[in-house]
């Protein structure tokens, strides 16, 4: 079986299977430094058996079911999505072996790989990866950060219809270069609930189901949306506050470096907490990030009719070459 080459977040991905969501990415090159190899295996015999699991994520909702659990194994880490797939990630993050169950839907497998496993692998490799949507305005990027359900994708899609370029829907990869931070494009897709789709991106366009258990759909192409292929310097991080029915006004307020760090840290894709050096390095990276890039709390009403004003507030706060985000955060 031949190898497929892709580019994701500025790295070459070499995979022995086709990954359709990455099809729109530029062709990667074999043997590049920082490349990630993904191999698909079959049969449970090759999967390492860990003595224990050190962390787990639950499915959204009240079911209490495990969505993904993590273990240390001899050569790295094992990620297990029970009854769906297992992923062995090397200590260096650049080698991923996938063991899908025969019953798993292709869309679920790709969702697990692209939206959970690869972000964690990129974190091991030294990138800062946030649970965030990313858009670029006037060449500068804005991170819309928050846990699931905060409205990141809907706001990003709305901004996309108003001229912003989409860098990513849910996984924002940040890299530091000469003291400046850049947001890198992830895969081309916007995952939205049906209601958001209908209101924010009406019409006919190319989309696919996100995974077997979700009603979300992933927009691959839309005439009103441009997916950015180039990195964009990060100008601002906006932390989307929890939805509350009493919120009527749009408010952006700047956070201190300490509060910014405390707020962003739990929203980082990183699980190598048992390796002191890796944790120290990743913590130091995040400290440098919040010292350089302004971080704001963003509170806004979640009604669809408020979206134009919410989007306009983001556009006003967006830093340009002549203005700093911090000053605008304080004024917004």
């Amino acid at each position: 079986m031949g190898a497929h080459f892709y580019t994701l977040a500025g790295r070459t991905i070499v995979c022995d299977r086709s990954l359709p969501l990455l099809a729109g990415a530029a062709l990667g090159r074999a043997g590049e430094r920082g490349a990630i190899t993904i191999r698909f295996g079959s049969g449970s015999g090759a999967v390492p058996h860990p003595p224990s699991w050190f962390h787990s994520w639950l499915r959204p909702g009240d079911s209490g079911e495990t969505w993904l659990r993590f273990a240390e194994v001899e050569q790295g880490f094992l990620l297990d999505a029970p009854e769906q797939a297992q992923f062995a990630v090397s200590l260096t993050g650049d080698d991923i072996a996938c063991f899908p169950s025969p019953a798993i839907a292709e869309s679920t497998l790709h969702h697990l790989l692209l939206d959970h496993v690869l972000p964690l692998a990129l974190g091991i490799m030294g990138d800062v990866v946030l649970h965030a949507s990313g858009v670029a305005l006037h060449g500068r990027s804005i991170a819309l950060v928050g846990p699931s359900g905060r409205g990141k994708s809907t706001l990003a899609a709305h901004l996309g219809t108003r001229g912003a370029e989409i860098l990513t829907d849910d996984c924002l990869v940040l890299r530091e270069l000469d003291g400046k931070w850049y947001a890198l494009p992830y895969y081309q897709g916007l995952r939205l609930w049906p209601e958001s789709l209908q209101i924010v991106l009406p019409g006919t366009f190319e989309r696919i189901k996100v995974s077997g258990g979700s009603d979300k759909e992933c927009v691959l192409r839309h005439p009103a949306i441009t997916f950015r292929r180039e990195p964009a310097r990060l100008g601002m991080i906006a932390l989307l506050q929890e939805e509350r029915p009493d919120v009527r006004a749009i408010a952006l307020s700047a956070l201190s470096h300490r509060d910014a760090l405390m707020s962003v840290l739990p929203l980082m894709f990183f699980f190598e907490v048992r390796t002191r050096l890796a944790l120290r390095n990743q913590f130091e990276r995040l400290c440098r990030l919040v010292e350089v890039v302004p971080v704001c709390l963003f509170d806004f009403p979640r009604q669809f009719e408020a979206l134009p004003n919410v989007g306009a507030a983001v556009v006003r706060a967006a830093p340009t070459n002549h203005r700093t985000g911090r000053a605008l955060c304080a004024d917004a």
Partner: protein, 91 residues
């Protein structure tokens, strides 16, 4: 038992990072982290120099607009919290 006379030290596994006047302490073993305001950040700095909680409180009165008895109680509470989270240990 923790008292005002206790001297404390930061555990080897804890990392202190200044962020402006504030600080964040991270335990590299457990991933537990703790944000400190300017008074808390100075508390940690003075602890590293070997001061007891009472000595730190006296020093902070000179640097910040705080009362010694109030700040000493606040520091005891903070120290208890950080001890229970494994970020400090009694020297």
């Amino acid at each position: 038992m923790l008292t005002r006379e206790s001297a404390l030290r930061i555990r080897d596994s804890a990392l202190v990072r200044r962020l402006g006047d504030d600080a964040v302490v991270l335990d590299l073993e457990t991933g537990t982290y703790f944000g400190l305001d300017p008074v808390g950040a100075r508390f940690i700095e003075l602890l590293v120099e070997g001061a007891s909680i009472e000595q730190v409180a006296r020093a902070l009165v000179k640097e910040f607009d705080v009362e010694e008895t109030v700040v000493a109680e606040d520091l005891l509470r903070l120290a208890r919290d950080m001890l229970s989270n494994g970020l400090l240990e009694i020297a």
